[in-house]
Symmetry: C2
Subunit: 197 residues, 2 copies
């Protein structure tokens, strides 16, 4: 299909418009919150007027939806892949999961912020889909944490997982103040200590 061709061309090859828009929007949404950012602001950020956006997205909500869906999919896919590649040792799996999440959080503090702040301003359908993906990602962690703490029930493992997410996803609050490598090491060490405690 020419559809797919075009899509591949525009989406991947050149980082063109649509992608620029998504990136700029992510930045703005993270800074001010999606509801506080106007279509005109997003347009201006890529050197275009507001309504021009509707050539690339059906609506503002659709923009936010695609953004959140991508993040959730990336996290889930990455998590599954890392765990699978880590062999059978739960501790090794935990370490690779932590490293993965830390990298993501350091590379995309803006996405982290938007991800859990603006989920609520999403149309019900999309919100549900994002939540499904999030839940599956959490379950990956729950599995690993469960094997690491055989006596703990799933509810405890889930709470532990959320706590570790909170720890690692603190990057938007403490960003840039520390060299990346140092920050990565610190977060990884803290996360592992917390997860195995």
């Amino acid at each position: 299909m020419t559809d797919v061709d075009t899509a591949l061309h525009t989406d991947a090859a050149r980082p063109s418009r649509r992608e620029q828009i998504l990136r700029a929007a992510a930045q703005l949404f993270a800074e001010r919150g999606s509801r506080a950012v106007g279509v005109d602001d997003v347009g201006a950020a890529v050197g275009v007027t507001g309504p021009a956006i509707y050539r690339h997205f059906a609506s503002k909500d659709a923009m936010l939806a695609e953004m959140l869906l991508r993040i959730s999919e990336r996290l889930l896919a990455g998590g599954v892949e890392r765990v699978a590649a880590a062999g059978d040792d739960p501790l090794a799996q935990l370490r690779t999961l932590i490293a993965f999440q830390v990298d993501f959080a350091l590379d995309n503090p803006a996405l982290i912020t938007v991800h859990d702040r603006d989920l609520g301003s999403l149309p019900d359908g999309d919100a549900a889909q994002v939540r499904r993906l999030q839940r599956r990602y959490v379950e990956v962690w729950v599995g690993v944490l469960g094997r690491l703490h055989p006596s703990a029930d799933d509810a405890t493992s889930r709470a532990r997982a959320h706590a570790v997410f909170g720890l690692i996803n603190s990057t938007p609050h403490s960003a840039g103040r520390l060299p990346r490598a140092q920050m990565a090491g610190l977060l990884a060490a803290m996360a592992e200590a917390a997860a195995t405690s």
Copy 2:
């Protein structure tokens, strides 16, 4: 001053209106985000029409401002007080800080959520004041963490503090699934492990 008298009377004695409104607003803001909540919604939540709110608050922003200021002040005051009461041992200080923050996070998940999601939708002046209070609270933690890790610089301690906040403040994401005492124990243990790692 009659001012103070009245304030004390209305604010403390009876949990009347103004207070009801603040509580209801906190709940709604936490669920949907302050910008997605209309004045009418807040009014309806306390059995009153929208405009009635302007008998108690100068504006919607003023409501949010008072909410965030109170939280920040409560945290700072509580933190300072606990540390002072804990003697000289940095580990004892850390433990009491953690217990304090865990209690707060478990008692007020809604406030936690609003606190760092809606700070951005605050008039510049109020936002700055809230940030000042936050900073001072963080500094309390930084002091303790610094004494606990003598070789670490302040930037590291600050990052550590934010990470621990993220860990403990994960309560809105994993609320209610675990009995409170169990959740408190889990979070405290994880936080201590992370902070001392």
